[in-house]
């Protein structure tokens, strides 16, 4: 892959991550709402939904944790975007300096470009190695955000069991369990797509 195409892939990958993360954030907020809703239902159901009440706190905690992790990942993804811009400019400068060197052959001061050229090359390499490091860190953070999503699915399964004992509130609580389960699945899928986008950058290096 050429340097310029690589830079383009980086832009696309980082932009995809930002889009996926904003969807994750939306879903995490939905879980938080579902938790508040479940709490209200469980409160109304009283004794019939006694087992469901602590679950609502878990759901809320998971949503909060996801929101916090996504905020951190977002900050990281933004740094990665800035690094991509930086890398794009470094690559463009190195290419342009190579072109200048060719065009300036025989010019009395052609050699004076060497310092700028070496400096640009060095900065480009530093930039690329920083980028690589940040990609690894971001992959770790994405892995971390999968944990609450997995836990949410387990909780959703437990919620269904507890809901089955809630008499007239069965349907409402099952709907809550369903929505938590769906949201966890969406988060899982979106984060997986983020990881794939990042892997494409890693492969292209």
């Amino acid at each position: 892959m050429s340097k310029k195409n690589k830079a383009k892939s980086q832009f696309v990958a980082v932009a995809s991550i930002a889009a996926e993360l904003s969807a994750v954030m939306y879903v995490a907020k939905e879980i938080s709402l579902a938790a508040a809703n479940a709490k209200a239902i469980a409160f109304r159901a009283g004794e019939q939904a006694k087992g469901f009440q602590p679950i609502t706190d878990f759901i809320n905690e998971l949503a909060k944790e996801t929101i916090q992790l996504v905020n951190e990942i977002n900050e990281h993804a933004f740094s990665l975007y800035q690094m991509t811009v930086d890398d794009y400019r470094r690559v463009a400068a190195c290419d342009a300096f190579a072109q200048v060197a060719k065009l300036a052959e025989g010019a009395p001061y052609a050699d004076s470009l060497v310092e700028s050229s070496n400096r640009a090359q060095q900065k480009m390499l530093t930039c690329q190695s920083n980028f690589k490091l940040h990609v690894s860190q971001l992959l770790e953070q994405l892995e971390a955000v999968m944990h609450p999503a997995r836990a949410a699915r387990v909780i959703a399964a437990n919620s269904r069991i507890e809901a089955s004992q809630a008499g007239e509130y069965l349907q409402s609580l099952q709907a809550v369990a369903e929505s938590v389960d769906n949201a966890a699945q969406v988060i899982h899928d979106n984060v997986q797509r983020c990881k794939s986008a990042l892997s494409i950058i890693n492969i292209s290096e």
Partner: protein, 242 residues
């Protein structure tokens, strides 16, 4: 890239333009270099497409570390979209450009170069023994626009004023003013929005002693053609598009 020395005295003015390898769908531009003993000021360095041929041409006259100052008359891409590349080639240089455009120009990339904002009333730039005046030319055509006047060389670098649209490879100097008029008319009527701004500039410039008027596009005016241009421009109604 064609290189033409337009003044040689205590220091030099060199014009760069008519790049034969320029793509035909981008407008041709004139760049100017003021070369003193140890420093250089590059005026309207050009678009990003032009960076490599431009720097390669400058290396015929000066080493990279002596290109200490850049000037951008306004914010247009053909003037200064190469800034991000100059920024990496000349990390210790200064860019003299309209203060009003700073936040906009930085989009081209300006991390290392020092941005020296020019206030609306202009100012001065001193490059060793070259003492240059920054002449306001607002709305001609950009809302914050400046020209450079060199009283020693009697040169006015007039940005887009005096520009002409013509075929690639045209001569450097105006050789027949009357024939040149039609090449300038559309440019001035369409890109210059204000008769008031035009008159203000003309009054200012008539007070200067000018031998050479050097625009950023087209040909350079010498001697009596400078006065002919001012008379023609004064009579021209600008901002005529509806």
């Amino acid at each position: 890239m064609k290189m033409t020395k337009i003044y040689s005295g205590a220091y030099q003015w060199i014009m760069y333009g008519r790049d034969e390898n320029k793509r035909s769908n981008i407008i041709d531009t004139n760049q100017y270099l003021i070369r003193t003993a140890n420093k250089c000021l590059l005026l309207d360095p050009g678009g990003v497409e032009l960076f490599a041929p431009m720097l390669a041409a400058v290396l015929h006259h000066a080493p990279v570390d002596q290109i200490t100052d850049l000037f951008a008359s306004h914010q247009d891409p053909d003037i200064i979209s190469s800034l991000g590349l100059w920024d990496q080639a000349l990390p210790h240089a200064k860019l003299h450009a309209p203060a009003l455009w700073e936040g906009f120009l930085r989009h081209f990339g300006c991390e290392s170069i020092e941005y020296v904002g020019i206030p609306d009333n202009g100012g001065q730039i001193q490059i060793e023994n070259a003492e240059l005046q920054i002449i306001p030319a607002h709305y001609l055509h950009s809302s914050a626009n400046f020209h450079i006047y060199d009283p020693k060389a009697k040169i006015l670098m007039s940005g887009d004023v005096g520009a002409a649209l013509e075929a690639d490879g045209s001569p450097i100097y105006v050789d027949n003013f009357d024939a040149h008029i039609e090449k300038m008319r559309f440019f001035h009527q369409r890109w210059m929005p204000s008769n008031q701004a035009k008159m203000n500039w003309i009054q200012r410039v008539r007070k200067l002693d000018i031998e050479i008027m050097a625009p950023q596009h087209g040909r350079i005016f010498k001697g009596d053609d400078v006065k002919r241009f001012l008379d023609w421009f004064e009579a021209l109604q600008v901002g005529t598009a509806t």
